[in-house]
Every structure is written in C-alpha cells, then in structure tokens.
Symmetry: C3
Subunit: 342 residues, 3 copies
C-alpha cells in the first residue's frame, strides 16, 4: 500500500488500460477490473497491480488475491489457479509493471517549490530549525527535535521527539521515531538500486515504499539507507549505525545492533537483534542473520547465520573454521616456502 | 581537558553528587571533593572525573590522580592504592560516568540559532564566505580561506589561512591548520561509534574531544573524521586522504600519509609518517603502524606493523608471505582440480 | 585541452619563463617558444606544456609534438628524437610542471561570490531550481530538469534535459547528459588523489580535466566521481552507480554497467559495457575490464579481465578457480582440524 504522505495516488485504472500502459496483453479476467495501487504479488489485494518475473517466485505460494499481475508467457495458468483476478503477459513483466505503475502512483516532490520551510509542515513549537534547512509540506517535526543547518526533511516525513538531524542530512519517504540521531550528510529514503533489462538497455526500478526508523537509533555521517521497493526498510530500536554505511532497500535491522563504518547490507537481508558487524563487513542480499551474531571486520557474508554465532572471512565462515583455515594456510606456505621462492 | 571553545563547562560538582547523578555508590574519599571536568583515567587530574571498565585497564598503571573514578565492584582497593581521590562503584561504570558527565560538560550548539553567519565569528577580511554557508559563534576563519557554498563551520572551530572548505562540508569541534583542503561533503568532528550496554539496551557514548588537522592536509569528498572521546583525533601535515575514507575517534595519522578511497581506520589506531594505504584497505582499532608502511588495496590489518614493511591480504600478512600463500593455494587447487570438480 | 568553461587560460608563456616558473633548466629548443595550455605528453601539441616522470612512459611512443616537456635528467636525447619542441630538466618534473602550469591554467571559482544563482547561468524556463541551490556563471540547466535543495551546479557545468539533481549534490567541472539522476550528497568533478613527492613532503597534483556523464545514468547517494587529470572521466549511457561508490580520475565506465554500493574503481581503469560489480568490489588502477564481465561482491580485481568472464575473490580470480580454491581450503582445514586445534 503506497503511503499517501509520500505518493500521489492517481485515479484508478481499468485492467485493460493498465495492460495497455505496460504494452502487455491482457489474457485473463474482467478488462474493467479496477486497480488503485501497486504491491508485491504476495501482499497484493484485488485493488492492487503486481508482477512476477519467473516461476520460482510462485513456488511457495498457495493463494493470491492480486487485482492484476504482469507475468511472462507460460505462467498464466498457475496464476489463475492461485486466484489472481486479471493477468497481463509481457516478455518483460517488470518493465510492463513499471510503465503501468507510473500512471497510478507518483512520488511527491521532496519539498515545496515555493517555500524552503513549508507552511504546511507541522513543526513543534520548541523544535529548533537551523538556518538553511528545508522542510516539505506535510512533514511533522516532534517536540524538542533539532534540524541542522542545510538539512532536508522531505514531504510527509515524520521526525519524532528529541531527535537530532545533522547538517545537510537528506531525509525523504521516512518515518523516524523518538530520540533518533542522524548525523551530517546521511541520506535516508532514496530509491535503491534496482535494474530492469530490455532491448534499449537497462533502466532503474521505481520504488513505492518508505523507511521506518525506530526510537533511539543513530545513523552515522554520510551513511545511506534506501527506501523499500514496496513496504518498509526498517532499523530497530537503539541500533547504532556508524559512518559511511549502506543499508539497501527492504533490509530489516533488529534492535540494539551495531554496524561499524563502511559496512554494507544488500537488499532484503534481515538482521536479528544485537547483531554486531565489524568495520567494512558486508552481507549479500536475501540473507537471514540471527540474534546476537558477530561478524568480523571486512567479512563478506554469503549464507544465513544462526543466532549467537561468530563468523569472519571472505567469504565468511564460522570463526573457528576461519581461524583454522588461516593457520593451516600459513603453516603450509611456510613449509613450502623454499620451493615457491626459488 | 574539555576545550571550552566546543564545550560548556558547568559549575563544579561534589563527588557525592556526581556519584548520585551516575546512580553509583561513593565508597571512598571526601564526598565534597570538587570535580570540574572529565578525562581519561590516565590523564585525569584531581579535578577530573573518569571511569574504568575492568581490571585490564589498570594493568600498566603505577599512579593515578583522578578526582573521581567510576569502577565496577572489586577495583576499589587497586584504585585507592594508585592514588585516586574518590571512588564510586557501579555495575555499569561507563554508563554511570556518562550520566554524571552530562551534568558537567555539554557540547555547544553547532551554529547560532539566530544567525547563519554568527556575528561572534572572527572572519579574516579577505576570506571568501560563499552563499548558503553557516559559521558558528567563536569560529575563526584565517586569511585567504574560502568557505564553500552550504559548508558549515561549527561553533569555536578554527580554520587556518589559505584553506579551501568544499561545498556542504560540515566541520565541528575542530582545529584546522593552514592550506588545508577539505572537499565537498566531508564531515569532520562528529562523535564516533561508542556503545554502552545495559538492561534497557545499548546507548551511544558521549564524546568530549576534538579533531586536529595539521597544515597542508587534504580530506576527500564525503570522508568522515570523528572527534576523540577525550583529547584529539589527529591528521598530520600534508597527509592526503581520499574520498569516502573513515577515520575513527582518537586515531592518530602521521605526516605525508596517503589513504586511498574507501579506507577505514578504526578507533585509537596510530599511523606513523609516510604510510600508504591502498584503496578499501582497513585497520582495526588500537593498532600501531610504523613509518613508511605500505598496505595493499583491500587489505585488513589486524596486527601492529613495523616501520618500512609492506603488508597485504585478508587478514593482512607481510607481502612476501601473502604472495607465497596465494601462489601455493593456486597451485594446490590446480593440482587437485580434477578431484574437486568431479 | 583545458575547457575554458571550467578553467581560465592565462596569457601564453615563453618556454624559458615556464622553465623558470618550474625551477627547471631549459636545455633544448627556442626559449621564446610559446605555450598556451597543458596536456598529457601523448596528446600535447606544439602549444602545450607536458611532463614525463621516467623512461618507461616513453617506451611505446614513436612521435611527440609537445611544445615543452619537463623531464628528469637523461631523457632529453630521447625526447628530442621524438620531436618535442623544447625541453626543461628537473629532478622532480611533475612538481616543476605543476608550478609552471599554475601560471597558465587556473580553475574557475565554483560559484559566483555575489550571487547564489548566477545571472550568467542559462536555465531553461521549465527547469525547477529548489530553495538553497547554487548555480555558477556559465552553467546550463536543460528543460525539465530539477535541481534539488542545497545542490551546487558549478561554473560552466552543463546539465541536460529531464535530469534530477538530488539535495546537496555538488557538481563541478562536469558535462551531464539527458535524463541523468544524481542522488543527494553525490560529489562529481573534484580533483582526484594524485601525489607529488619532494624534499618538503608530499603535495597534491592539480587536475585540468572534467567529468562527462552520458544519458540516463544514475549516480547514487554520497558517491564520488573525480574529474580527470587531463581529458575526461567518463560514465556511459544508462549505467547505474549505487550509493557510496568511488570512481577515480580518468576512469572510463561503459554503458549499461551496474556498480553496487561501496564499490571503488581506481584511476584510469576502463570498464566495458554491461559490466556488473557486486557490492564492495574494487578494481585497482590502469586495468582493462571487457564487456559483460561480472565481478563478485567484495572482490578485488588486480588484473585485466576479458569479455564475458566472471571473477571473484581477494585477489580476484576466475570464478571457477576461486570456488575450487575455497572448497579445497575448507576440505584441507577440516581434515587437519584435529591437529591444529590441539
């Protein structure tokens, strides 16, 4: 469900017109089925438009209620059986979806073109708005919060109480809790990296979601947190994110996590509570990290990690294994040193 | 010693009131011992409040002069013997210290709430202040320096002569020498990542120090240099720090160092002079790097390195050893290729 | 050839005066040979000043037309034979060149000191310029483009049609195509990391080039793209560059490339078309990457890679080899586990 604080929802679209906008062929359902929003296929209701790239996405699904689904040829029977209301076929269903979606949902402008501090923002009396800051229409700034010089609070954003938003930080499409400390230069709420292929070259995927930051979180200087494609990217309570960290779209970070500088967490990965990532560590996309996991500096995590474990290395392995392998490598190389240097 | 250009020192506090503020128990010394500032335990004088987390910190100490030390149960006898004036016990001494310290030392506001360019700043006549810049009260801008559009020079900061501060750079709690070149988006002087645990979840450690940048240094675009917890983070003369580099709190970088893009140096690590770090290299915390050391691109340094050495790898090893291990691994895998692929 | 939109070209200089400015000795050619610009030695015409560091640079050259070349002792005979018009000798030819060049070519100021939005900028009627933005003299903003709050478009920059320049982005020395999406905090056009040694310590190399960004490119939040020393750093059409990515001076990126977050590409490296770099991957300087190459997350590329290959690892190897080595290492360590743990 696109949040109307951040997105303009246009007039609903008939399924046959949505298919037309997507240059796709409506092959099933009532052409005048009405569509009002966009969603993931899993979460879509009968009023939502969605898409699916391939059979694999459908694997674990037992029922679907999407109003319209763009799909590649061959999936229509399966989708019909799952309960999708109308179906449109395209060789490039994500591109078709993107085209149709732009007629349905449009992001609002970051700030008003006329006022640096919008008269339609709701700013608590004792909030401090520094010189050069910009605040968009519909934004809410809570009691006791300080907005730094040159910081941008975009249209519809909510900043809780007693927050500190650093100089030049740019926040858009975001709901921010109480006592959150965002450092200078942090960029929160931009669309993430999503790429759609096609004959005319690649193209960026639009994003329809937001960022949700819980109470007491710290976001370091020049760190970036992208908004979700659908739904929310989430940072749990009190988590401390250092400088120059990247959190991709749809990532879920638990509470009381510590991510040291230059870490990266790729799309849709989920971190439990009390996770610690050393500096420059990374986690690839769609990974599950349990509670209390410790990840070594510079490690690259490519597999799920169970609660309480410590991993390190490139690629990351359980710490004990990693240390054993390093020790063995060192020993072997030392014993063969004479040969290899010769 | 908290620098009054950056911090408000409140009225002195009696030891028993400091202990009360920290929810700790004063177990030794004159309850009316007067405390005026905060410091590390090593450097604290009789007017300073300090803390210690565990026995290990006391290991090499022979004498201490701290006015008040927060410590966990069991360290009071040792602290008494070392000369500490008053002692307060807490299960969470750093949290106790943090609570008490906030009543003693408060960071000043980044800029004046009333004026983008403070009338209380001391700006050289021929300095160029670009549109949209902000300069806090007590800041000093030297002759011939240029402050870029949207740049922030925080309260009390000193910018030397002939400096160039890039667009949108945010400098706070910093003393900057002559001829320093800070590129756009750099963030200098923020509090670093320090975490205090506790029953109610984690919390950020306050910082009471500053950043000191010597003459001729270059700080790249969007790089971040955190201020010290106590004392100074230091960047030595002429050192060239590339874009997107992170320098953590209390790091000391020597002169004529070159740190390529995306490097990270963790807390309290010390680099000698003429150190070269290749791109995306990292050094963990509390490490000593000698003069003239060369660190390969992408390496992760986890041990001290002596002057003049070249190291590479993950984790970093002496270059010769690293190359030997790589060659051996390659050779072994090639010779066993048939088996493992089968 | 220095682009006069970005650089002031001063009055031409006689060769003997250029040598004098560089504290070098003119040892060959007409002292009154006239010099009007700077260039690489390969591209220099008879009106250009250039330099060469050592014999290796001359290896593959068959003819040179430079007006003046600064060189270390011993190269004059070779340079004469190649056709250089005048020659000046210095023990530190790049420093000599730098000194002389500063009398010939000067970068223009980022924005006008008097106007945040220069009256000498050429801004399309329907372009949207947000509050707090700054636009330098001679800049061109195309139809339908939006310049975000606090964004800086430097003197002489060209922004094409239907571009979106994010909040606080700082663009200088750049030619940007149509439909380009630059996210908040991105810094484009700064001088790269170039270091000149000498008795008095190191010093930064001046840059005389620009950045050229083709149509449809996306540059992520807080990413940095440095301008070339001479000529252009180039980003090809539709390439999608994620957040916190560093692209160094003189890099050439092809079309339809995808560089995930925290990647770094070092100086003068060339990427073909459709190259994919996983998150936190890096490529060292002066490397050639073919079309369609895939580089794994966290990999460090240190060798040229042919078209269509997949590489991963630190240092990067062909994917098949990398996986074989990892599997072998794991197996070996497991089989020896008993010994090493003991």
């Amino acid at each position: 469900m696109s949040d109307s604080r951040f997105y303009h929802l246009q007039a609903p679209l008939f399924a046959h017109l949505a298919a037309l906008a997507g240059e796709a062929e409506l092959v099933y359902g009532n052409p005048e089925h009405s569509l009002g929003d966009v969603e993931t296929l899993e979460c879509a209701t009968s009023a939502d438009m969605a898409f699916v790239r391939n059979q694999a996405y459908l694997q674990d699904m037992t029922t679907l209620d999407a109003g319209l689904c763009f799909c590649p040829p061959g999936l229509e029977t399966k989708l019909k059986a799952l309960g999708v209301h109308t179906i449109a076929i395209s060789d490039n269903p994500d591109r078709a979806f993107l085209r149709a979606a732009s007629g349905l949902v449009q992001p609002r402008a970051l700030i008003s073109p006329d006022e640096a501090i919008s008269s339609k923002a709701d700013i608590a009396k004792d909030a401090q708005i520094s010189a050069r800051a910009c605040i968009g229409p519909g934004a809410i700034i809570g009691e006791g919060s300080r907005i730094g010089p040159g910081a941008i609070i975009g249209t519809g954003c909510v900043i809780g109480r007693n927050c500190s938003i650093g100089a030049g930080a740019a926040i858009s499409y975001s709901i921010v809790g109480d006592g959150v400390d965002v450092r200078p230069g942090a960029v929160i709420g931009e669309a993430g990296l999503g790429v759609i292929g096609g004959d005319a070259g690649i193209q960026a995927m639009a994003h329809f979601g937001q960022v949700h930051i819980a109470n007491g979180v710290r976001i370091g200087a020049n760190s970036t947190i992208d908004r979700a494609v659908f739904g929310s990217t989430y940072i749990g309570a009190r988590s401390q994110i250092d400088n120059l960290v990247h959190i991709a779209h749809n990532v879920q970070v638990g509470s009381d996590c510590v991510l040291a500088a230059l870490c990266g967490v790729a799309g849709s990965t989920v971190l439990g509570n009390n996770v610690m990532m050393g500096g420059r560590a990374g986690i690839i996309d769609h990974i599950q990290i349990g509670d209390g996991v410790q990840i070594g500096a510079g490690a690259l995590v490519t597999r799920n990690i169970g609660s309480g474990e410590s991993w390190s290395g490139y690629p990351a392995r359980p710490l004990r294994q990693y240390l054993r392998e390093q020790a063995m490598l060192e020993k072997l190389a030392a014993s063969r040193g004479g040969d290899d240097d010769a």
